[in-house]
């Protein structure tokens, strides 16, 4: 009887650990890869998105109490949301193209993503922003207080692959990947 009780507890523990492991493995992971050649530094930080979101819950509210959201931004909420929905519903196309002597910029809507490419003299930037993620995050936001979870809500809707790549002229490189 006692032996059976122990095996039941063991089975529950095992199932719990397996469940946790499965959720970690199956959840979205974000990898931040920073390389600074001048200091011979490379830092790679992989973290499960759900863990990052959970961690923000432990940030004390006092940390952001001095940070205020401008009234203008709060008032612009309907317009911002309307613009985002219009962008989301728009067909795929290159929306903006700037070709200047020192930089080239393109903003392209591709499916649910807004792809931004900047080729400047001192840096190359590629960024893929999930529009539905931004809409979701902003709809949940109160527009009054700083919400550290905003960025993670956006990321949670991102497709797999590189989200941000920044390559500076001095060799510094930052890559944020979702997988």
């Amino acid at each position: 009887m006692n032996q059976r009780g122990i095996s039941t507890v063991g089975a529950i523990l095992l199932a719990t650990v397996a469940g946790l492991l499965a959720s970690v493995v199956l959840s979205d992971w974000v990898v931040v890869d920073v390389k600074v050649p001048s200091d011979d530094v490379r830092v790679v930080v992989p973290f499960p998105l759900f863990a990052a979101r959970a961690a923000t819950a432990f940030i004390p509210a006092e940390a952001f109490e001095d940070a205020t959201i401008p009234d203008d931004l709060q008032r612009a909420r309907p317009q911002v949301m309307q613009a985002l929905h219009a962008l989301h519903d728009a067909p795929d196309a290159t929306l903006v193209k700037v070709d200047a002597p020192d930089a080239k910029v393109t903003v392209t809507k591709h499916g649910d993503d807004l792809d931004i490419a900047v080729d400047a003299d001192d840096a190359i930037v590629r960024c893929s922003i999930p529009i539905d993620g931004v809409i979701d995050a902003l709809e949940r936001w109160d527009w009054k207080t700083v919400d550290p979870n905003l960025a993670f809500r956006v990321l949670s809707k991102a497709g797999f692959g590189r989200l941000v790549t920044v390559e500076a002229k001095d060799g510094t490189r930052v890559v944020i990947t979702n997988w």
Partner: protein
């Protein structure tokens, strides 16, 4: 019978597939090309009307608030703009304004339901401006008591127009082209 039935089914499926495709094509686009000839820069905007209309409300910069642009009118000229616009709208085709001066030549004409404004600047940037708008949009061009034009109403009117060029500006410093498709 069977080939006919197959044909009918295929035709129905093809039509069902075509409807969303045609609806997708219905998106109207506002195109703006600006070429800064001095700096060698080129800006191209290709934006769906729905997005432009949504963004306009949120723009709050100098001389542009709430979808309205404030124009610095020359009060010395003492022109009753609302009256002028109303007269233009109700008038038959013809040349309505022809100004020739040392600064610029201006011509405003109405032809085939279109209002055409042509300005040739003779000094500074030596700009040549061509604006072509349907006469039905003259109301939207009217200035209110604050010398503002309701750009949002104007654009809403443009959304229903056939494809075509609206504004073309060429000058020593920059070239601008605005058209809808």
């Amino acid at each position: 019978m069977r080939p006919k039935r197959v044909f009918t089914t295929l035709l129905t499926l093809a039509l069902m597939a075509a409807v969303p495709a045609l609806a997708g094509d219905a998106t109207r686009w506002l195109n703006v090309h600006v070429t800064d000839t001095k700096e060698g820069a080129n800006v191209e905007l290709h934006l769906p009307f729905g997005l432009v209309m949504a963004v306009l409300d949120g723009v709050n910069v100098e001389n542009f608030h709430g979808g309205k642009i404030q124009i610095d009118l020359d009060h010395d000229a003492d022109i009753d703009w609302p009256q002028l616009m109303k007269a233009l709208k109700d008038s038959p085709d013809g040349d309505y304004v022809t100004v020739t001066s040392n600064d610029a030549d201006v011509k405003v004409q109405k032809a085939a339901g279109m209002l055409r404004i042509h300005v040739t600047q003779k000094e500074d940037e030596q700009a040549v401006v061509d604006v072509t708008l349907p006469a039905t949009l003259i109301d939207a061009l009217a200035f209110d008591e604050h010398n503002e034009i309701d750009v949002k109403t104007l654009l809403a009117g443009l959304d229903g127009l056939p494809d075509g060029e609206i504004v073309r500006v060429t000058s020593n410093e920059a070239n601008v082209r605005i058209w809808i498709e």
